[in-house]
């Protein structure tokens, strides 16, 4: 049981980091489905920098920087040029898949070395607590950062001026504009911040969960992070719960698979996606999204 809880929290961490970033972006009224490719870019940049310098910390910084770069690409087309956000997001995913695949082969010629990984950092004393000790206090810095980030994003959204302006822009860009808030600037910055987090989330995969980069290794985790935001009803607390739920579902899948049950393995691999679909069908679909989500703001355009 302790091992299962520990694995749940560990596997939830990249989803949580990516989803918190996407939450910040979506509360500003922008949907970034390029988060999948952004994670992949972070996974690759983090891996490459950690291998080159021997330091996972440098890898982490590189992952965040790569995320920012991809975010700038997305925001330039989706926020500044106001092209369709879904289309730009899909384009970003394709470009990231191609660029990281190409980069990996150019650098390592199909034979990548192992990256130095971030070691677990148990909190003395607390890590030995029964049941929740290993899950909450014997994890890598990524997990602590993810949990801390949830508090920062939650309070940031509800208690700060920046959060208030962000929400105003997401609920009604027109009204926010009338109040003198620079809509596109708020959205641009939100996309950059969210993309940096997505990059870090990708680095969790190459600097903690494994020590290698493989082509397309995010395997839809960015898309599941989008579902986590919906299932979490666009609130930080909800996103934490939803990410932990998906972490638990994945941990359970690994556990059952290891038991070597009679069930064929594709059923297990299907499991997280089916769970996501079911959850959305039961709970998420009708949750309240920011009112101006997905709408580029043009000052001259008629409302609605």
């Amino acid at each position: 049981m302790e091992a299962l809880l520990e694995a749940s929290v560990r596997l939830a961490a990249p989803l949580l980091i990516a989803a918190l970033g996407e939450l910040w972006v979506e509360r500003s009224g922008v949907v970034n489905i390029g988060i999948e490719g952004t994670m992949l870019s972070g996974a690759f940049a983090g891996f490459a920098a950690a291998v080159a310098t021997g330091s996972p910390a440098v890898g982490l910084v590189a992952a965040a920087a790569a995320g920012c770069g991809v975010g700038i690409l997305f925001a330039t087309f989706a926020v500044v040029r106001k092209l369709d956000q879904i289309v730009v997001g899909m384009a970003v995913n394709l470009i990231a898949l191609g660029a990281t695949g190409l980069g990996a082969r150019a650098l390592y010629a199909g034979n990548p070395p192992a990256a130095p990984t971030l070691a677990a950092l148990p909190v003395p004393g607390l890590a030995e607590l029964p049941l929740l000790g290993p899950a909450l206090f014997a994890q890598t810095p990524f997990v602590y950062a993810a949990l801390g980030l949830a508090v920062v994003v939650g309070l940031g959204l509800s208690r700060t001026g920046a959060g208030l302006r962000l929400r105003a822009v997401g609920e009604s860009a027109r009204a926010a504009d009338a109040e003198g808030i620079a809509v596109d600037r708020v959205r641009f910055r939100a996309v950059i911040a969210g993309s940096a987090l997505a990059g870090v989330a990708g680095a969790v995969l190459t600097l903690s969960h494994s020590d290698v980069f493989t082509e397309g290794m995010t395997a839809g985790r960015g898309f599941i992070a989008l579902a986590v935001v919906i299932f979490g009803r666009w609130s930080a607390g909800g996103v934490v719960g939803a990410a932990l739920f998906f972490g638990a579902a994945t941990a359970l899948q690994f556990r059952l698979q290891a038991r070597g049950a009679e069930i064929p393995y594709p059923v297990f691999l299907m499991f997280p996606y089916l769970v996501t679909l079911t959850v959305l069908a039961v709970a998420g679909g009708r949750a309240r999204a920011p009112a101006d989500l997905g709408r580029p703001y043009r000052r001259e355009a008629p409302a609605g």
Partner: protein, 356 residues
């Protein structure tokens, strides 16, 4: 309105932005490839030779273009209606799965006159079914189709894996693939070119007529362009979204059936090299015009066919094709005047609410 009906001048004018997008994307990728230390000139030569340089190269291009044409039509039809169907990949896979099941399990040994239509219809029906699942979730539970179709793609990949490791695995049991389709289930072909290509071309014209010349097409475009106005006019965006996802799924499923019954002759796990995702680039480069999907599918078919030669002869990894696709999407949407329907993001279906 298609530029074909407005004469050659309009045709040329409309062809300028997509051509610029293609050239721009190739140039950008060329620079990137050169920065990584490859020889872009050799890569381009190999790309052209592998896609257009010989009869065999042309055949390869046309064979790659055929499923891209059908899935590209599926995406163009969906996006026109404001339905963000990212699920052509999964719909293709389920189509291939159903076609194989009928050919190798339900009707082995039956005459071609019976088997072939059954196989093709099974493919279309399978794709339509998985499209309709996304449509149902959207219409009845308000689940956004971007998310549901992407998730269903991953489910479909595992469904195929399940089938070729289990009920559809070859009798010999050596490899995770299906039995070879019986000769009666295979599409008639000239050389390696299968008859599915002709069907795909015919369906491009049929889709053009459906979208621009039929009452249903008018309502589909209305839903895509102005969902609230459509609702006031008594057209249900939910119902038409459902219809469109099923229709698009059918087109993509047909592509899957044609792949097993025209190209591979068997079902295996990695039967689609991401055709359903490339289809999004195909549809957007064609600016969502069904007839323009034909040249667009040819371009991306040539890119895919040539990428293999590029990897062999110039050492540039074939995965670079994905970068070209992404950049073509960005540039063609960025450069074109006609945009896809107004963004509605994750708030589908359009909520019923008062006038702002």
């Amino acid at each position: 309105m298609s530029s074909l009906a407005r004469g050659p001048a309009a045709l040329v004018r409309d062809a300028v932005p997509p051509t610029l997008a293609v050239l721009g994307a190739l140039a950008l990728v060329g620079v990137f490839v050169a920065l990584l230390g490859y020889a872009p000139g050799r890569a381009l030569t190999a790309l052209l030779r592998g896609s257009l340089g010989s009869g065999a190269a042309w055949t390869a291009t046309l064979l790659k273009a055929s499923p891209l044409l059908l899935t590209g039509l599926a995406v163009a039809l969906s996006f026109r209606c404001g339905v963000w169907n990212i699920g052509a990949e999964g719909q293709l896979l389920v189509g291939a799965l159903c076609a194989t099941a009928v050919a190798t399990r339900t009707l082995p040994g039956a005459p071609a006159a019976l088997v072939l239509p059954a196989v093709v219809l099974a493919g279309a029906a399978g794709g339509a079914l998985i499209g309709a699942v996304a449509g149902a979730l959207r219409a009845t539970r308000g689940v956004n189709e971007v998310i549901s179709t992407i998730l269903l793609n991953f489910v479909a990949i595992q469904l195929v894996a399940l089938a070729v490791h289990g009920p559809l695995q070859e009798a010999a049991g050596a490899y995770p693939k299906s039995d070879a389709l019986p000769a009666a289930a295979m599409l008639p072909a000239i050389g390696r070119l299968h008859g599915g290509l002709a069907v795909a071309l015919a369906l491009a014209f049929a889709t053009q007529l459906l979208v621009f010349r039929s009452a249903i097409g008018f309502r589909l475009r209305a839903v895509g362009h102005a969902p609230r106005a459509a609702r006031f006019a008594g057209i249900s965006p939910e119902l038409y979204g459902w219809l469109v996802l099923a229709l698009a799924g059918g087109l993509a499923g047909l592509a899957g059936a044609f792949e097993v019954a025209g190209v591979t002759g068997t079902l295996y796990e990695r039967i689609s090299p991401g055709t359903g995702y490339t289809a999004i680039a195909v549809a957007l480069l064609a600016r969502l015009h069904p007839l323009s999907v034909i040249p667009s599918a040819l371009f991306f078919g040539a890119l895919e066919a040539g990428a293999g030669a590029m990897q062999r002869e110039a050492g540039v990894p074939a995965v670079v094709a994905q970068m070209v696709q992404g950049l073509v999407v960005l540039l063609s949407v960025g450069l074109s005047v006609a945009r896809p329907p107004r963004a509605r993001g994750l708030r589908t279906p359009e909520p019923k609410r008062g006038i702002d």
